[in-house]
Symmetry: C2
C-alpha cells in the first residue's frame, strides 16, 4: 500500500457539498467512485482536510488515500481525471508517508471570499461571486479585521449547529483587496470552524455598510453567542484556497 | 402600442440556443414567457438582432417588442427581471421608434471569443472559455487576421448548413489581446454568417499552432468551400458582445 496526497479543485455549484450523503451528488462520492473504477470495483476511502458546504468551491482542497496500484505520480492525475466529471479537477497527486493525514496534519488554511460590487446583475459570475449592491467603507472593514486577527474563542462566529467543543482558533491574516468591481477577502489561520469564514465575511460586510462598528468586535467575541455576529454570507462566494502542512 | 429596444445579457450554458424550439429551454422562450406573464397571459413576440447557438453567450444581445403596458423605462428592467431565471439579465429597456427593428436596423456587431491558454484544467471557466493546451504563435495569427479583414465572400467560413445566399461580409477589425493566460479575440463587422466567428477562430488557432500558414487565407476565401477552412471552435468560448445601430 502507498499513501497518496492529492490536491483537488472543484466548482461547488452542482454538489451537495464535499461529504458523502446518501442519494446526493458530492465531491467525495465522485472521487471515491473514480478510485473504485481504477481499483476494479474495490472501495477506496478518501480523507479530506475538511468538508466544504453545498455551493462552496475549492481551489486547493487536499485529500489522502491508500492504493496498491503501481502508477507513477504524473499518470495518477490523468487516470483519476479520466474518471471524473469536469467540475472536479485533480491538480496534483504525490506519494506521501504512510502516516500522512490530510486533516490532522494540516497546520493552516487559506480561504478566499469574492464579492462583486456592482449595481447590474451578471449571469456569468452568479455562482462564483457574491453580488453585493450596497456601497462599502472598506477602510472600516480593515479596521474591523484587525480586531479579529489573533487567537480568540470564535463561538460567536461559528454555526450554532456545530458540535465542536474547542472553538479557540488563530487567524493570522485577513486581507481585503479591491480590484475594479471585485472585493476579495483572504483569510488565513490555523483552522476555521463551521461557517466561520462566511460569518466573518457577513459581519465585515455589515460594518462596511455602516450597520455595525469595528469596536463591537471585542464584545461579539466575548459574548460567545452566534446571535451577536452578522449574517452568514452565501456559500457561492467562498473558496477553500490552500491547505498548509 | 409602444416599441421597446431591450439589451440582454445571458449565460448560454443551459440554453439550447436563442431561438424557440419545441420542448427546449431557449432564451427567446424564457423572455417571451416573462412578457406573457406581464401581459396577463397575452403573447408578446420578441425579435432579436440574430440567433445565438446552444452554449454561446451574450453580453449585449438586442431585441425589440411591442407593448401596450404603461411602464417607465427603469421599471421595465425590474419587471422583466423579476420574471426571468438568473442566467438571463436585462441590462436596459428603451423606448424606440415604432419602426425600429433589432435585426434589420443593426449596422454592425462585435463578437468576442475567449481562449484559456494553460496546461491545467480549470473547473470555474469550463463553460466560459475554450481551454487550449497547445502553444500559439500569436504574431502569425495577427498576420492571418490581416488577410481576413475587409470585404470578402466568406462562404468558406460559413456553416455548410446555412441557406443564406449572399455571403459577402465586411470585417472591420480582428484584434487579438493577450492577458496573462487568456487570449481574447475581438471581431467587429457589418454582419456575420452562421458559425462564422467560430470558424474564423478555429482557423486562426490552427495557424497559431503551426498547422497552417497565414498566406493560405486568400486561397481559402477564393475557394468558397467550407472544407478549406479550419475547425469550428467550440460554442462556449463565444460571446455576442455588442450590436451597433
Amino acid at each position: 500500500m502507498q499513501r497518496y496526497k492529492c490536491t483537488v479543485c472543484y466548482d461547488g455549484t452542482l454538489f451537495s457539498g464535499y461529504q458523502v450523503q446518501p442519494g446526493k451528488r458530492t465531491v467525495q462520492s465522485e472521487i471515491e467512485a473514480a478510485l473504485k473504477r481504477l481499483h476494479k470495483g474495490n472501495d477506496v476511502k478518501i480523507t479530506a482536510s475538511g468538508r466544504t458546504d453545498a455551493g462552496v468551491h475549492a481551489k486547493g482542497q487536499v485529500i489522502h488515500f491508500d492504493s496498491s496500484l503501481f502508477i507513477p505520480e504524473d499518470s495518477w492525475v490523468k487516470a483519476l481525471q479520466a474518471n471524473l466529471p469536469d467540475d472536479i479537477v485533480i491538480r496534483r497527486v504525490e506519494r506521501a508517508e504512510s502516516d500522512f493525514h490530510a486533516r490532522f496534519d494540516a497546520v493552516g488554511k487559506e480561504y478566499r471570499y469574492f464579492v462583486r460590487l456592482a449595481q447590474e446583475k451578471d449571469p456569468f459570475t452568479r455562482h462564483y461571486q457574491f453580488h453585493f449592491t450596497y456601497p462599502l467603507n472598506v477602510e472600516r472593514m480593515r479596521e474591523t479585521a484587525s480586531y479579529l486577527i489573533g487567537t480568540h474563542d470564535f463561538t460567536s462566529f461559528c454555526s450554532a449547529k456545530s458540535e465542536v467543543v474547542d472553538r479557540v482558533r488563530t487567524i493570522s491574516e485577513i486581507e481585503l483587496i479591491e480590484e475594479e468591481e471585485l472585493l476579495l477577502f483572504r483569510f488565513s489561520g490555523n483552522g476555521f470552524l463551521y461557517n466561520m469564514v462566511r460569518i466573518l465575511t457577513g459581519t465585515l460586510l455589515e460594518v462596511g455598510r455602516g450597520l455595525r462598528n469595528p469596536e463591537e468586535i471585542p464584545q461579539i467575541l466575548n459574548g460567545k453567542d452566534r446571535q451577536l455576529a452578522g449574517k452568514t454570507a452565501p456559500a457561492h462566494g467562498l473558496y477553500l484556497w490552500k491547505v498548509f502542512y
